[in-house]
């Protein structure tokens, strides 16, 4: 028995050894591909915090920076904001012309040779679809009456039409006219509109929308059907179009159907893995003036800014633009070979005083005595140490940090310097508790005055602001009562506080944006401020299309706001961009969306 077993084992070993004898000594990496990963040296990876989820960023849900940054690389447009927030027209894509001021008539013309990446020309039908969706003129259902299905999309039964759009402003327009050659579209407003320049641009491709919605094979035929449906307000055809427009372009990984992610700009989408990354490659068919600077741009998603910093240090990302906090800026500053650029964001911090809650700033408290209430407000703002806040909280994060001195215009934007020279903001340029005391004494108000101050409870920076302003205001005779609240957002405007500071988010430089904040009864008017002169000026501003006149009116409004001691703007949120200088140069972050992606056509790989 034993011998047989040993023989068997020996035979097995011998057999294997025989096999081994004919084996090759080396056998490296068979079938492993070229191992070079394509054009690796003209590729970069950009870190971003939230994954892409919709190709249609004009829907109420799709309207998010997560989508618009990717689309910014993929799709061109009639105009864009530069790093100084100036609106630049891209003539290589198309042009627009003001035909008449009254009635306001604009003619849009798409340039020749501009094509979607499937070869279909971009033309007026694409603009028409964007108009139909944005204006809501062809909708047959109201926004707050819409039923939604289990995927959160509007239910459109029986030929109902509802474009679930996020835009506003096009509502005052009639159905546009399209020229014979299909390249131009003429839009007429029923009343003048100051921000007409940024109201209409090409969104999702019209031909794809109509082909998918109406089951048409030929792109041109599909466009014709779409133009027909909109111009005749044919609800039966518009219903599926709206339905597809609302829901058809949502995806979180690369769809099987390439028509769902066409480009008309510098980059085409070539890959997208759910929650991980999207890859964009230079669009060979793009002929415009903003071509891809880097061959391949990969956007890699990570929600944690600290993790992103370490990714940058480890070479996993080459460019990132996190929210600026002391930790992040310090960490970034400590990495070799990384360039840091600080700047500002669209959001700005401001402090408002409440006019209508029976508190210390409300005339009603003094028996309707406007002058006393004004004096109390002025005293409060005179003592407010704005420069201190900047020096201690913002200057460490941002080079050349400064106080924002205008309620209406962002620092650095066109007209800012002119406005702050005349708007009376200089009366609050320095904190002066003694002067504040004097104002209170003159008004005959006895200190200390309790001021319930609300701010976000779980926010370190706002907590620090409170700690800075409290002692200075105490010196001036104001006792700041800490009314911090985690739920501050929903408490805004409920009258339970006398002063509040938070950030307004601004996504464009549209001049009409501020009316809701300062106009009587406006949606964002949370402190009961009301001034007929301001209301009149805003009405005038809304219909003023000349830029110099706009600035003139804005200065007048700003002056009234400062004179009325409405409150004070504090600072623009600091932003930071950091990139690996070995891998990338030419980065020029912009304050507004698309922030770090602005100027991708200037990006290049250092020699």
């Amino acid at each position: 028995m034993k011998i047989r077993r040993i023989t068997a084992a020996a035979t097995a070993v011998a057999l294997a050894a025989a096999l081994a004898a004919c084996a090759p000594p080396e056998d490296e990496d068979g079938g492993d591909g070229d191992g070079n990963g394509g054009n690796a040296d003209t590729s970069i990876t950009v870190g971003w915090n939230q994954p892409f989820y919709s190709y249609n960023s004009d829907t109420s849900n799709g309207n998010a920076t997560a989508n618009s940054i990717i689309l910014y690389l993929m799709n061109s447009g009639l105009n864009y904001y530069d790093a100084n927030q100036e609106l630049i027209a891209d003539e290589s894509f198309g042009s627009y012309e003001l035909l008449s001021e009254d009635p306001l008539t604009v003619e849009y013309t798409i340039a020749d040779g501009v094509e979607w990446s499937d070869g279909t020309p971009v033309d007026a039908s694409d603009l028409l679809l964007a108009w139909a969706a944005g204006s809501g003129v062809v909708n047959t259902v109201e926004a707050d009456a819409v039923e939604r299905d289990e995927s959160n999309y509007p239910v459109l039964d029986d030929g109902a039409v509802f474009f679930d759009s996020s835009s506003a402003g096009l509502g005052f327009t009639d159905i546009p006219e399209i020229s014979e050659d299909g390249k131009s579209l003429t839009l007429t407003y029923s009343e003048p509109f100051a921000d007409w320049e940024v109201q209409l641009d090409v969104g999702v491709p019209a031909h794809v929308t109509a082909m998918q919605a109406l089951d048409i094979e030929d792109p041109q035929e599909a466009k014709d059907a779409l133009v027909d449906a909109i111009t005749t307000e044919d609800a039966a055809a518009l219903s599926p179009i709206a339905n597809f427009w609302n829901s058809g372009y949502d995806f979180t990984e690369l769809p099987d159907d390439p028509s769902l992610y066409l480009s008309n700009g510098a980059y085409v989408l070539t890959d997208m893995v759910d929650g991980q990354y999207a890859t964009l490659e230079a669009n060979d068919g793009y002929t415009g003036e903003r071509p891809a600077g880097i061959e391949t741009v990969t956007v890699s998603w990570n929600e944690d800014p600290n993790a992103q910093v370490q990714q940058l240090e480890n070479g996993e990302v080459d460019l990132m633009g996190p929210q600026a906090t002391t930790d992040i800026v310090d960490a970034l500053g400590g990495i070799d070979g990384v360039e840091l650029e600080t700047g500002v964001e669209g959001t700005y911090e401001h402090l408002d005083l409440v006019f209508n809650n029976g508190g210390p700033f409300d005339p009603a408290t003094y028996g309707g005595d406007e002058a006393t209430a004004l004096a109390v407000r002025q005293a409060f703002l005179t003592a407010l140490p704005r420069q201190d806040i900047i020096d201690r909280l913002i200057a460490p994060l941002q080079d050349g940090a400064e106080v924002r001195d205008s309620q209406l215009i962002t620092p650095g934007a066109p007209g800012y310097d002119e406005i702050i020279a005349d708007n009376g903001s200089d009366q609050y340029s320095e904190s002066d508790p003694a002067a504040a005391q004097a104002i209170l004494a003159e008004a005959g108000v006895t200190a200390p005055i309790d001021v319930r101050t609300m701010f976000a409870a779980d926010n370190v920076r706002r907590d620090n602001i409170f700690n800075i302003i409290q002692p200075v205001l105490a010196e001036a005779g104001f006792n700041l009562v800490d009314a911090r609240n985690a739920d501050w957002g929903s408490k805004l405007g409920d009258g339970t506080y006398d002063a509040v500071y938070f950030g307004w988010q601004s996504t464009s430089t549209a001049v009409t944006e501020s009316q809701a904040t300062f106009g009587t009864g406006g949606l964002n008017n949370l402190n009961g401020f009301s001034d007929p002169e301001v209301d009149a000026l805003f009405d005038q501003l809304a219909v003023t299309t000349d830029e110099d006149e706009q600035i003139d009116i804005q200065t007048q409004i700003d002056t009234i706001l400062f004179d009325a001691a409405y409150g004070l703007t504090l600072f623009q949120f600091p932003s930071v961009a950091a990139w690996n200088t070995d891998r990338l140069e030419g980065v020029e972050p912009a304050p507004l969306n698309p922030t770090i992606f602005y100027g991708y056509w200037n990006w290049s790989v250092p020699e």
Binding site: A9, A20, A40, D41, N306, A307, E313, E513
Partner: protein, 508 residues
């Protein structure tokens, strides 16, 4: 038994139902779906608020919304992420896969390491080794995940990748390795002063040889084992496994194990053929693993003897690590082309994510990439969770060691190996049977912090991210699943305990 099951199921269902209600109300209070619109200056703000309020039924009382949510469950509808319009069921399936990929290896490693350390620690109770391990496990147990993660990223990824750029082992590293391997092994083995000295000498020598080998062969640039290392390690494994499993005195087992090791060495070159000609994937690797076990069993049975299944078990236990040596060797031979790849650029260890974007270079390189991404989160999870296992197994081993039957076993002259491995080890594992199922099943719930820091979009990430973005449906789906799993896990643990320990009976 039937009554027990029924009663248990009914109470469990009730527990789950009530907890979802409580959680739904609490989450509704905590989140504010309109948060992002409140500070917006969008001219269209009013319409957006109205539309969202309408879409999310925010004006409906929370209890009615809860019932609405509950009514979807029987149909398999768990709601929708209203920001991206993704179905929660789809989100969950992706998240569960991600989580399992992340935590499975870490959990197995933590259990094995924890049990091993715990038992050794118990056997050397109140020695310096025991105290050091106690200190270490409490230290690791109390470390915050986010902090460990950041440190690991800095040293194990960034600094290590920098080191790979110009690899060279400093003299102090030699000293540290020699002392560490010598002292730790000496303390763990224990014994008389003379024996300690011997053990120290052997372990320190082994450490020196290992480091010198790495240094001289440029291991960090061109890592690999080669047939020589496979042979040395294979024989060491054979001896080690036999020693623990049946004892070296059992010659049949030893020969069987050695045969398996030699077979592995002999197959070294033929396997290179196999890797070359076969389009490898994980299915094939698992198939080869099963084959390996069968071959091991076969070899054991051929050696046979009166207790041939014991021999077969030893041979199979040897076969698996030997086969893994061959796999690792093949994997490491791709290291060069992996590190030089244009997307890796000499930095193989990643700090974040599941894979390198756009990296698709075949099985071996993709596997290296996966390991490069798994390394840090796995180390983090193991460091933090192995401590508790080592505590449990230490305590239970100590309890078992004081039992009467241990004294009986020793008294009747059994070898120390048999006493420890057969009488102490097995019984010491019984209490773990009530902990491990709970841990493993709740793993599906994910590791909230680890997943977030390492950018793995698993269950924990889904929960934390949705909560932060004020989206209730994924949060509730997560809580529902975790609640069900917790109930199931406890149930399984109870049953397992009853099966393993005849003293416990499940009664109605």
């Amino acid at each position: 038994m039937f009554m027990f099951l029924t009663r248990r199921l009914l109470t469990s269902a009730l527990v789950v139902l009530i907890s979802t209600l409580v959680m739904y109300v609490l989450v509704s209070i905590a989140i504010d779906p309109l948060e992002d619109l409140r500070a917006s200056t969008d001219p269209n703000k009013e319409a957006l608020i109205a539309s969202r309020t309408n879409a999310l039924d925010l004006n409906t009382p929370v209890l009615l919304r809860y019932l609405d949510w509950l009514s979807g469950i029987p149909r398999g509808y768990l709601g929708v992420n209203w920001q991206t319009n993704q179905q929660v069921t789809e989100l969950l399936s992706g998240a569960v896969t991600t989580t399992l990929q992340l935590v499975t290896v870490a959990a197995l490693l933590a259990i094995m390491l924890g049990v091993f350390v715990g038992i050794v620690s118990a056997l050397r109770q109140y020695s310096g080794f025991d105290y050091s391990l106690t200190l270490l496990s409490f230290l690791l147990y109390s470390l915050p995940t986010f902090w460990v993660a950041v440190l690991l990223k800095q040293f194990l990824a960034i600094e290590f990748n920098n080191f790979l750029d110009e690899p060279g082992i400093a003299w102090w590293f030699y000293v540290v390795v020699i002392l560490a391997s010598g002292i730790v092994t000496m303390a763990a083995v224990g014994g008389t002063a003379r024996k300690r000295l011997q053990v120290f000498g052997i372990a320190a020598g082994a450490g020196l040889v290992a480091v010198a080998y790495m240094d001289l062969t440029d291991f960090f640039v061109t890592p690999g084992l080669g047939i020589i290392m496979v042979a040395v390690l294979g024989i060491a494994i054979a001896v080690g496994v036999t020693g623990l499993s049946t004892g070296l005195g059992d010659r049949r087992s030893l020969y069987a194990a050695l045969t398996v090791a030699v077979l592995g060495v002999v197959l070294y070159y033929p396997m290179l053929y196999v890797w070359y000609y076969i389009e490898v994937n994980w299915l094939i690797i698992i198939g080869l693993g099963v084959l390996t076990v069968l071959v091991g069993l076969g070899v054991g049975l051929v050696w046979g003897g009166p207790d041939k299944w014991t021999v077969a078990r030893t041979a199979a236990l040897t076969a698996v690590p030997v086969a893994m040596l061959l796999f690792v060797d093949r994997l490491l031979s791709s290291w060069d082309s992996f590190v030089d790849n244009g997307l890796i650029r000499g930095r193989p260890i990643s700090t974040s994510g599941r894979r390198t974007p756009n990296f698709d270079e075949g099985f071996w390189l993709n596997t290296l990439d996966l390991f490069g991404h798994l390394l840090l989160p796995t180390v983090t999870l193991v460091l933090i969770s192995f401590a508790s296992y080592s505590r449990y197994s230490r305590a239970s081993t100590l309890e078992v060691l004081n039992q009467d039957y241990m004294r009986t076993a020793r008294a009747k002259g059994l070898t120390e190996r048999t006493v420890i491995m057969r009488h102490a080890f097995r019984n010491a594992l019984i209490p773990l049977a009530s902990i491990v199922p709970v841990d493993i099943i709740t793993l599906v719930g994910g590791a909230v912090i680890t997943e977030r820091i390492f950018g793995w979009r698993g269950m924990g990430f889904l929960f934390a991210d949705s909560l932060e973005k004020n989206i209730i449906d994924p949060v509730m789906a997560y809580l529902l699943i975790v609640a069900i799993l917790a109930v199931v896990a406890n149930f399984v643990a109870d049953l397992m305990y009853a099966v393993l320990d005849p003293r416990i009976r499940v009664n109605a």
